[in-house]
Symmetry: C2
Subunit: 414 residues, 2 copies
């Protein structure tokens, strides 16, 4: 049996890490090992000043003039173009707007309209809940025999039949980090005449993805996880150029109009990706995202992915070596190529253990009913952080530090 890496081994890996310099692009609190960038990414160092400038100069002094002068009106398309290279899309195929939930609604309805003779939305059980809820909501709204068919991951292929209008999947599962084979499933969907929607919430900024190469029909994702856009930052929508002319989403607000400032009474969709827009964009949240996306301009996603897999492999090795016998069962794929940038373990006392970790400055999260989840954001997570987190977990298990009423009492929100 190989010895597990030492802290010094990890520090040496950090010194060789080609991404190490990006850590300075983020503000990170002292005394914290932050392994929850897959829930809320860290604050980009440039963001506070950018937001302050937008507030005091553009809003305070520019006032209404800033819609043009400060480029607010262009932010949805500008930010979309910055996200595009991270997901294998062209700049005019991505736009930023609304939330993941709202955008999934748009895409599902648009997809159903392209397959009017079909009645099934196919989704995966234990996908992120809002996806399933929106799928159910769309089916209920459409009525007329529409259903949201939710099946376990291993039954997706079998469920892909000619009744399926659209297969809507999250590429990387939020709980386990398991990665779907986007190209293969898209091809299978196309073989039976179904469209695909790919949710990239746990993908974008965690690994390269090639929507164009996979021939994905639609995609979307949030920007507040690995992209570090800030709490509740707006989401993005991908509609490839060849689908844009026939893309008709139902939230036909004025920002998606062909000529929004003509103030005419009848809706006519904008020509390209802008037809995915609805209402007035949330400027302050978009400014934060704008700063966050600038960090990505010179990130090599292949290098990022290699580090991500290495961090996850290291954590699994350390936890399984140090915490053997403490009841952890790996809930993520062991094979790094099939795993997103997170590692999850099942543990009956997962909630209390995570509270104890957080109290010790190791921040991951808990996902009901029994998953402790650790995310690795390769731009700012170091190998020594992973090593230290495993050490703290070991100590908590050895000392049963989790076994207190304070840590075992579930908060309403986690």
């Amino acid at each position: 049996m190989t010895a597990t890496p030492s802290r010094e081994d990890c520090a040496a890996r950090d010194r060789r890490d080609p991404l190490a310099r990006f850590r300075d692009a983020f503000v990170l609190p002292d005394g914290v090992i932050y392994l929850d960038g897959n829930s809320l990414g860290a604050l980009p160092a440039s963001a506070a000043a950018r937001i302050h400038e937008a507030v005091t100069r553009d809003w305070g002094q520019g006032l209404i003039r800033s819609w043009n002068a400060a480029g607010w009106i262009d932010l949805p398309a500008k930010l979309g173009a910055k996200i595009a290279p991270l997901i294998g899309a062209a700049p005019d195929e991505v736009i930023v707007a609304d939330s993941t939930s709202v955008n999934l609604f748009k895409l599902l309805v648009a997809a159903l309209r392209l397959r009017p003779e079909r009645r099934v939305i196919l989704m995966e059980a234990r996908d992120f809940p809002t996806n399933l809820y929106i799928g159910q909501g769309v089916a209920a709204l459409m009525g007329d025999g529409y259903t949201c068919r939710i099946v376990p991951g291993e039954e997706i292929d079998a469920a892909l039949d000619k009744s399926v209008a659209v297969l809507a999947l999250t590429h990387v599962n939020f709980k386990t980090g398991a990665v779907h084979d986007m190209a293969r499933l898209t091809q299978h969907a196309h073989e039976v005449g179904a469209l695909t929607i790919w949710d990239l919430c746990h993908t974008v900024g965690a690994m390269p993805v090639d929507l164009t190469g996979a021939r994905a029909d639609f995609a979307l994702g949030c920007t507040y996880k690995y992209l570090n856009g800030g709490p509740g930052a707006p989401a993005f929508v991908y509609v490839p150029k060849h689908m844009q002319a026939t893309f008709h989403q139902p939230l036909t607000g004025w920002m998606g109009h062909a000529d929004p400032f003509s103030f005419v009474d009848d809706y006519a969709p904008a020509a390209g990706i802008k037809r995915a827009l609805s209402g007035t964009p949330g400027v302050l949240s978009m400014v934060a995202l704008d700063a966050a996306l600038d960090v990505w301009a010179d990130v090599d996603l292949g290098v990022l992915r290699n580090k991500s897999v290495a961090l996850g492999d290291l954590f699994i090795a350390l936890v399984e070596a140090r915490c053997a016998g403490h009841g952890f069962a790996l809930a993520s794929p062991r094979d790094g190529t099939r795993r997103g940038s997170q590692v999850s373990f099942q543990h009956a006392q997962g909630y209390a253990i995570m509270q104890a970790l957080i109290a010790r400055g190791v921040i991951g999260d808990f996902r009901a009913p029994d998953i402790v989840r650790f995310g690795f954001a390769p731009l700012y997570t170091r190998y020594v952080d992973v090593w230290q987190a495993a050490e703290v977990l070991f100590d908590i298990m050895e000392t049963r530090a989790w076994d207190t009423p304070q840590f075992k009492a579930r908060a309403a929100v986690t």
Copy 2:
């Protein structure tokens, strides 16, 4: 004929103005008379520090913990409760989320579900375009004979028949400032069995409104005009308590779930107003709005309304006296009780005239095809500002300062 007020008369009114002290609650640029708070409200003086704190302390240092520790998760309900007293609602009848466009979509679908045997959405021609577009989008989505019937304002009563499921009107028209009689139209709608949705975008923060007294079924509005929530600040939704149990909106995202952090696969709506939520809230935009709403805690809306009417009356009197013969036609109700907090004039050269005004530091806006629009935000607009704006307008007309190629060339966005 009474002489029009002098600058000194106006300064004297400002000295007597009980709202004068609120001007210090806002940042306003030097050399500018800002008469566009009905499009984007001014920056509250407290907002920049609050946002900076949210960014650097809550996001930067608190990270994911701030969803609980900084109360981010409670912002939609907390902000709704702050808006409630401004619109005659109870605190748990209002919630902040998404955009006006998205919220109107939710309300329209929810209303149609409550009148399943009816097929007509009734709206007003030349309402704000996004409202009409969303109405058209909902009708198209529902199919099955649903239509969005759009009639001129004077034909609304005649069009209210038993085919109408929901009457959706903007209380104060964005172009003219004309105010609908909410109580009367709601009663008429109810008499024919229709529901009502009131858009309060140009109402809230401009005048008192009593949704409860008017028995309005639903309402919504934006927060970036008279409420000063910031560019693209999120919108609010009103669902009265007696309607909440049967309120079923289609954008069934996780934040509207009865137990969002249980991560179960099936949607179940939250018990109260929270079921109007969809996706993850945009925290930074909500923090700005939170600061903006604090200003309203001790504003007397009756006093506000009186000043609003007086400012509008003054502007009409001054422009009609000083600019007589220059081709302006009042496009707003002359009767202040039937007018929102804005005054609009039609003028064939309206676009160029507004550009010339803006170049001289008097910021109103232009609304195609021929409306120049001046908004009066009583918390920070002074009587002397109104006087000065009319003087500058007079000078521009007398000198034909608007008649340059630069001002006549229409920008793509205004």
